[in-house]
Symmetry: C2
Subunit: 375 residues, 2 copies
DNA sequence: TGTTAGCACTCCAACATGCTGAGTGCTAAC
DNA sequence: GTTAGCACTCAGCATGTTGGAGTGCTAACA
């Protein structure tokens, strides 16, 4: 009882001295490398502070009380707790702002399809880091209708193309209930373009719509179709059907702590399902909006997804200009190499805009393509 | 030496009697269920042919000599060999032709994007069968150019839309080197449409191309762009970038013989990479062309992919009319429930055409959409 | 001649046992 | 405050033991 009291008392005034911090970091770094619990003797030799293993043991005992490290079982070494990782990562974030490594041109085959680029990016990132990676397709915010083109394929078929600012192209073939003449198509084209061009998706309200329909007379069907097509672009922006590409799922098998059947199965499922990954991306983008900009790290249970509580996830939001943005994420064990991962993310974040411009991709993946080729 | 002689002699005149066949099938069926090697006593009780375990043992010994079954180690039961499975499957294929189960309307949410439908189909199939599933997007063969539409966005930008028969729409925004007038665009439209419409992709040869370029005068760039866009459709057809969707990758963990770290990692990789799955689909479609129609079964090493030698793959080609076809595939352990799988594939094969028509999807997934909505 | 009971043998899986190395906590001395 | 020393713990590994499942072979039976 007396000893219990003593302990409780000590907890209160325990402070993270510089020496403790150094020891903690040594433990973390060592564990990141090996994945094995690290013991006092290892630290005693590993570090430059000349201390015997016994002293280290005392300090480690304190660190455990403070919640920074955990002992998997008696007489094993210690491993970092989530709290320990957090401390380490926080410091990394502050410290490493200087190290914006310049981009040495991503080795990505020239292509002009957004989807292909995204797939190549995650693949490259996965092979660089040896972790599972994800990327969400850039989505647009508050864009304007740029151009509407109705073309008469035959008496009962119209091709309907809508171009949104940022050159998202959406097209659609419409089967008409009644026949239409070339002249009528021209009129509709004029009507729709004069009324809708330059408007943001939010600007198109019900009043305007019924107005246009009135003018369109018997061709309400066409107007509806065009509006639906525009609406489709909006839908493509919602989180619901956020496009996410992943790569390197099998990398989880590199890390024994994730590779047992049960965990692996759940993780593979999570990665395949995508919807849970979307939760991460949503959370990340939300934080981005609320000022907390840059690289975000989710350690274990900090993330929104139950099945990934043994993982850490690092995300970064990339910007393509014109309110066009997406998120890259890296999924690995808690003992991932945060430094390497964050540097890689920084590099990609900085270079993606460049890359997209280079390939001149401006369309969404499912809308056809608005690329430009070499002359 | 004498006994060796005797053995060799026996191999020659060993025949698959009806009783041996029954025993073999009993072994296979039992193994399909349990996944454990099955012993003589089990068969003795399991079957209605009243034989003691000793007799069964003799027969099993023969079956092993004939190569239908394998003993993982002395004093374990027997498991089917690839040859054994093959016999079993062949019989299934012949026998079950009658059982074309009618479709009870796939529970698929109405949607109009091809990609979404395919994703839902594999997902449904995976959850029905508890195996990993794949589907290749339907691809077109020998289609004709239907319609070309150039629209002037501004003095230096053209929107270029190409419609191929089957209503594949491909579009592209072109940045011009020099300015262009509305009139010139009209001329080019006329030129390209009169020259190219109705031609198959093969019809457009170099002679024709230089001819058109000559007439186009200074606007060679535009002609090139249109041709490139048409060529893109061809590229989309090649096996290289065949679109494949998969689902239920984590189902492999249901089967211990596939779930060990090494195998699982390779399989997950194979499934994720897609290119190896494409090999299966190519092989399957090739067989389809060479007359061997219907459901195809690849047992273990019969398939073209090394990393899947412990798996069986069952494929079926589905047709959508107009030379539009794709392939569905199911990937599982060799001891998969072939009967269930084949019935499911038959059902899907028969109903997919219906389903696509219902949703009126006619475009390729990356070309924008040519759907039709409810009136 | 085909079928069966019985027996010796084999092998895996599961469990117990013992040992070692790595690591800890505690205490006493510096 | 630091350190050496010691007793203790525990995972991991090798080794040994046992039981059950299964086989192959042989001799007897119908």
């Amino acid at each position: 009882m007396l000893s219990a009291n003593k302990k409780r008392k000590r907890v209160i005034d325990l402070e993270l001295t510089e020496r403790k911090r150094k020891i903690l970091y040594a433990i973390i770094r060592n564990y990141l490398e090996t994945g094995e619990p690290v013991g006092s003797r290892t630290i005693s030799k590993y570090t430059d502070l000349n201390l015997s293993s016994a002293t280290i043991r005392n300090e480690m005992s304190d660190l455990e009380e403070m919640g920074y490290i955990i002992q998997p079982h008696t007489s094993a070494g210690r491993i970092p707790s989530d709290k320990g990782y957090r401390l380490y990562v926080n410091e990394l974030v502050e410290e490493k702002t200087a190290q914006v490594s310049t981009m040495n041109s991503l080795m990505i085959a020239k292509t002009n399809r957004m989807e292909e680029i995204l797939k190549q990016v995650v693949k490259l990132l996965a092979s660089r880091t040896n972790y599972t990676t994800m990327i969400s397709a850039p989505s647009y915010r508050g864009n304007k209708v740029k151009f509407i083109q109705l073309s008469r394929l035959n008496a009962r078929q119209l091709l309907n193309v809508v171009v949104i600012e940022g050159n998202i192209v959406k097209n659609h073939i419409l089967d008409l209930d009644e026949e239409i003449t070339e002249e009528q198509v021209l009129k509709l084209n004029l009507l729709l373009n004069t009324r809708l061009n330059g408007l943001t998706l939010a600007d198109i309200n019900l009043g305007l719509i019924s107005n246009i329909k009135e003018e369109a007379g018997s061709h309400v069907q066409v107007v509806n179709d065009v509006l639906d097509t525009i609406a489709d672009v909006i839908r493509a922006e919602t989180d619901e059907n956020m496009e996410i590409y992943t790569s390197g799922a099998n990398n989880i098998f590199r890390y024994p702590e994730l590779a047992d059947t049960e965990r692996a199965s759940m993780l593979i499922n999570t990665i395949e399902e995508k919807s849970m990954l979307a939760d991460f991306i949503k959370d990340s983008e939300q934080k981005e909006l609320s000022g907390e900009t840059g690289i975000k790290v989710y350690i274990g249970e900090e993330g929104p997804v139950e099945s990934m509580k043994d993982c850490s996830v690092v995300t970064a939001t990339y910007e393509l200009g014109d309110g066009l943005q997406g998120t890259i994420g890296i999924i690995g064990p808690k003992r991932m190499d945060y430094e390497k991962v964050m540097n890689n993310l920084k590099t990609f974040k900085a270079s993606l805009g460049e890359l997209f411009k280079e390939n001149r991709v401006v369309d969404q993946d499912d809308t056809g393509d608005g690329k430009a080729r070499e002359p």
